[in-house]
């Protein structure tokens, strides 16, 4: 059951206004406007190549819009310098990828601690925080393992831990269960749901309706680079 939701501007942490993104002659986003409030869990869905990952990249500051504005926590992401973007990603964003994107040469613990160390957190303190997250995510036994020997689910948990390391305002997930078997996918879904329930703002890109309904309270539909639907979701049983 899909319910049309009301959107209050005052509490918006993410505001996209007429965002366009072109790659050569291909238009990936074509005037997308969207607002997301703190604590929301938003699922972005659409067919392959519709622009949903591009939309996420704009919000994450991984790419710059060709037109329009992306404002997150009052910062116009498109106007930030390269260094400014890096600091923005460091402080505001936690990103989870479909294919984990862990550094193969670092242990699971060092992969996670790295995110904090980049902010200048001392190594010992960073590792302590990482161990807390490993404990919470149930992978404490795998902390010294290297990505190559971890299962898909374990790798994604490590990626989630890394994303949460700096207590980001926004947690962005791009097909977080896309490379996982159903059991591992369920575990990751539970994890995201738990995070949102304790107030973490979550935007996830997926083509998995089950995941969207399970984790999100709002569904944004994208097709051909435009927002074609924006609905509130009923919590699934």
């Amino acid at each position: 059951m899909v319910i049309e939701g009301s959107r209050g501007e005052a509490a918006a942490v993410v505001r996209l206004d007429g965002v366009r993104k072109e790659y050569g002659e291909t238009t990936a986003l074509d005037g997308v406007s969207l607002q997301i409030r703190a604590g929301e869990a938003v699922a972005v869905m659409g067919p392959s190549g519709c622009g949903k990952s591009t939309l996420l990249n704009m919000i994450a500051g991984l790419d710059r819009p060709t037109g329009g504005t992306v404002v997150v926590h009052g910062e116009n992401v498109g106007e930030l310098s390269e260094k400014g973007l890096a600091l923005y990603r460091r402080r505001r964003i936690g990103m989870i990828f479909q294919f984990f994107n862990l550094i193969d040469d670092l242990s699971a613990l060092d992969n996670v601690a790295l995110a904090a160390q980049l902010t200048g957190t001392p190594a010992r303190q960073a590792r302590r925080r990482a161990l807390e997250l490993f404990e919470e995510l149930g992978i404490i036994d795998r902390r010294h393992a290297y990505p190559a020997v971890l299962s898909g689910g374990e790798r994604q948990r490590v990626a989630v831990a890394r994303a949460l390391m700096n207590r980001p305002a926004l947690l962005l997930a791009d097909e977080p269960t896309g490379a996982l078997d159903s059991r591992s996918g369920e575990q990751v879904m539970d994890l995201l749901l738990d995070l949102n329930q304790i107030g973490q703002t979550l935007i996830l890109v997926t083509h998995d309706e089950h995941l969207a309904r399970r984790c999100a309270s709002r569904l944004v539909e994208v097709a051909d680079g435009r927002v074609t639907g924006d609905h509130t979701l009923e919590p699934s049983a």
């Binding site: 990249n57 991984l62 890096a86 964003i93 040469d105």
Partner: protein, 771 residues
């Protein structure tokens, strides 16, 4: 084959940067190799090559025109044994008062020959500036190409004779004349000699040349032949300096070739290894293993062949000014014309370097040939377990900024790639170290004894083809030279042949008298002679005679003998020479007179002014300014240029490694940026990873360079019968080594900086999307 070509062409297009790097590395390496091989070629037997090219005369003969006619000489030169002859040419001696001759680097008295053209069967002159003198009032001067062509058009005023305009500069290795005019002009200069230039069928020894000349001139009137000079004396004189620096240039040439070949191997094999995934994909879609190898060899060949072709052209372009610089100095002309790139060098570069590239690509390509498609794909992409875990962990826990500690860990994560890069840096640092040491040694070698004297006054002069004796006697002359303005010390020198008792061979005993008995000699052991019965000998003499310092020997001459003790060993490659004070020499040869006086001038005194004063004081002496050392310039010049070239090649090797690493790590870099790493931190991390290799490269390369210097330099000196004193070989001090350590870092950082900045600017979404 079509599929292979399509796949190879697509691969070249897709990997534009890597293709460009391969082309650049092959270009610079080939250029370095062309110059290095050119050096090897030019430095081996330079005199013979240059002499052969000019078809130099084996004998330059002077005849008295009052006693023999040109017609008689023309008939005579057709005699047996004469391979070719030039002349007869009328020769005049012209006095040029004041600075007339000095302005052109000539003496105050020059020989001028009337000659119709610079070519001919013998003595083909190298007319390197202007044109030949074809009309009256024109003159061509014999100058090496180091002279400035700006002097063309200047006038030479001959007293009671014509004014000659300099219309050309020609270099004559055989030094048959100081200047040439048209045959019509020579009569106005009052020629006193007729010159004939001979090439003989057998020019192997002085005796044979003398015999053949006697045969040719046998039918001419008595005393018609007034003087003759064989090319062997000239060859010995020129060859002396060439012998000294040939080994050094050869060492450098070999080093240059080694570096070029190794770096190319590094770059090309790295390119193939980084393409394993692509190889797997090709196999998966149906390419046979042979086709896959063909794709890769074609892919490498395109930039390699292009780079080699352009590199060969660049090498040829660089070689000319480089050789002109390197072979500058008194003997410069020896190499002029001959010191260009030989055709075989270009052939080797054009065929050899692509072959090296293909061989370098072949080894990893054959490995890929054997791998299954699945393994090839996984070798390119599969995540691997981390390497050097302990190092990574310790670095992660260190207090270093994380970008630095991550960078320091990178080389350990990819040991194979790091080893290749390290090899490039080690080679670069070894080269820089070796070259620096060599240049220091050679500078000290060249400077040794340079300040001992500035003017040499020979105790004879030649005028109008006739020898003039000094107006003053020996001691008066020494006193006179010491009393001229600017003189500080005067040392007389005479030579006489003596025999060492028990030996059949004669040796040359040089007796010295005056203020500075050591002259410009450098002691390697013992001390200089202080009185009668003491000699100092060169290393070559001592080695050949089985003698050491403190040994005694008996010198004999005629019915006289003298026991002498060897009190010192000095740096001298002439195995026939020993040095003693005047009293030792006169004990054996009481009537010996000095052949030359060496004058050290006071600081600031003008050697040219002293020479003029000496000439005016006694017309029977020929004072000349002691020239600078061309050997030093040759070695230091070549070492500097080759070091620079090889350092560039090594930097490109590093550059290539960083490009490949960056390509391999695109996903990691994108990920790091996605979690907040700034472009500057990415650059720092990437540069740090190479700086680690630079530091390691220094640690390995510096000792290798030092060992190379310590092994090569003394052996090369030994090859020319020289023992270098320790201060010339002990060139390594802590500050110099510290600076060299920076060389490794500099090579690595320079090579890494551009691709590191590029990595820093990588768009995150693109990098992650590429997965």
């Amino acid at each position: 084959m079509r599929a292979v070509w399509h796949a190879a062409r697509a691969a070249v297009r897709r990997r534009r940067l890597q293709t460009l790097v391969i082309a650049l590395v092959t270009l610079t390496s080939t250029a370095a190799m062309v110059v290095a091989l050119g050096l090897l070629d030019a430095a081996s037997a330079p005199f013979d090559k240059a002499f052969g090219k000019q078809r130099g005369p084996h004998v330059v003969a002077a005849f008295d025109p009052d006693k023999v006619s040109d017609a008689q000489l023309t008939r005579a030169v057709r005699g047996p044994g004469v391979e070719a002859a030039a002349g007869p040419f009328a020769q005049a001696t012209v006095e040029l008062p004041g600075d007339g001759g000095m302005n052109f680097g000539l003496g105050s008295e020059i020989t001028v020959v009337g000659r119709a053209d610079p070519d001919g069967p013998v003595d083909r002159l190298d007319l390197w500036a202007g044109r030949w003198a074809t009309r009256s009032g024109e003159v061509v001067l014999n100058r090496d190409p180091g002279w400035t062509p700006d002097d063309l058009g200047k006038k030479i005023h001959v007293p009671q004779g014509p004014t000659l305009t300099v219309v050309g500069f020609a270099f004559d290795l055989s030094r048959t004349s100081d200047a040439w005019v048209a045959p019509d002009q020579i009569a106005a200069l009052h020629p006193t000699t007729t010159q004939v230039l001979f090439r003989f069928a057998d020019a192997s020894s002085e005796e044979r040349l003398r015999g053949q000349l006697a045969t040719v001139t046998g039918g001419l009137p008595a005393d018609a032949l007034t003087a003759s000079r064989s090319y062997l004396a000239l060859k010995h004189q020129v060859g002396g300096s060439a012998r000294a620096y040939t080994p050094y240039l050869m060492a450098f040439g070999i080093l240059g070739i080694a570096v070029a070949v190794l770096i190319i191997g590094n770059v090309v094999s790295g390119a193939v290894i980084s393409g394993f995934r692509h190889i797997g994909v090709l196999k998966a879609i149906g390419f046979t293993p042979g086709q896959v190898v063909a794709v890769y060899l074609t892919m490498i060949s395109v930039p390699a062949v292009l780079g080699c072709a352009l590199g060969t052209a660049l090498g040829n372009l660089l070689a000319q000014p480089f050789f002109e610089f390197v072979f500058m100095g008194p003997d410069a002309g020896v190499f002029h014309g001959s010191a260009s790139i030989a055709p075989w060098v270009n052939a080797v570069a054009l065929l050899g370097m692509p072959a090296v590239c293909l061989l370098a690509a072949l080894a990893p390509a054959v490995r890929a040939h054997r791998l299954s498609a699945a393994r090839a794909i996984s070798a390119g992409t599969a995540p691997r377990a981390g390497r050097a875990l302990g190092i990574q962990r310790r670095l992660a826990s260190s207090r270093l900024p994380r970008s630095v500690s991550l960078g320091m860990g990178l080389p350990f994560a990819r040991p194979g790639r790091s080893a290749l890069t390290l090899a490039a840096v080690v080679l670069g640092v070894t080269t820089v170290t070796f070259a620096t040491g060599l240049a220091t040694t050679m500078t000290r070698f060249g400077n040794a004894g340079q300040d001992a004297f500035q003017v040499t006054a020979y105790a004879f002069n030649v005028k109008d083809g006739k020898e003039i004796k000094p107006e003053h006697d020996d001691l008066e002359l020494q006193s006179l030279l010491g009393s001229l303005p600017g003189a500080l010390e005067v040392t007389a020198r005479a030579n006489t042949d003596v025999r060492v008792a028990g030996s059949a061979h004669e040796v040359e005993l040089e007796g010295r008298r005056g203020d500075r008995l050591q002259l410009g000699g450098v002691l390697t052991e013992g001390r200089w002679m202080r009185g009668t019965g003491e000699i100092v000998a060169g290393s070559a003499f001592l080695r050949q005679n089985g003698l050491r310092v403190d040994d005694r020997l008996v010198l004999e001459k005629g019915d006289r003998d003298e026991t002498a003790v060897v009190v010192g060993e000095f740096m001298e490659s002439n195995a026939r020479q020993i040095v003693a004070d005047w009293s030792t020499m006169t004990a054996l040869s009481p009537h010996e007179k000095p052949i030359a006086y060496h004058v050290k001038l006071r600081d600031g005194a003008d050697p040219a002014a002293y020479v003029r004063a000496a000439r005016a004081a006694d017309a029977g002496i020929s004072p000349t300014v002691h020239g600078s050392n061309s050997i030093t310039q040759t070695i230091v010049g070549s070492a500097s240029v080759l070091t620079l070239m090889l350092a560039v090649v090594a930097s490109l090797g590093v550059f290539n490694s960083v490009v490949l690493n960056t390509h391999d790590r695109r996903r990691d870099l994108g990920m790091l940026k996605s979690i907040g790493m700034t472009p500057r931190q990415v650059t720092v991390m990437t540069v740090t990873s190479m700086a680690v290799l630079g530091a390691l490269g220094s640690l390995l390369g510096i000792p290798l360079g030092v060992v190379g210097h310590q092994v090569v330099v003394p052996r090369m000196a030994e090859a020319v019968d020289l023992t270098l004193p320790s201060y010339m070989t002990d060139v390594w001090q802590v500050p110099a080594l510290s600076l060299l350590a920076l060389a490794g870092l500099a090579i690595a950082v320079l090579g890494a900086f551009v691709p590191a900045r590029r990595a820093g600017r990588l768009t995150v979404s693109e990098a992650l999307h590429s997965e």
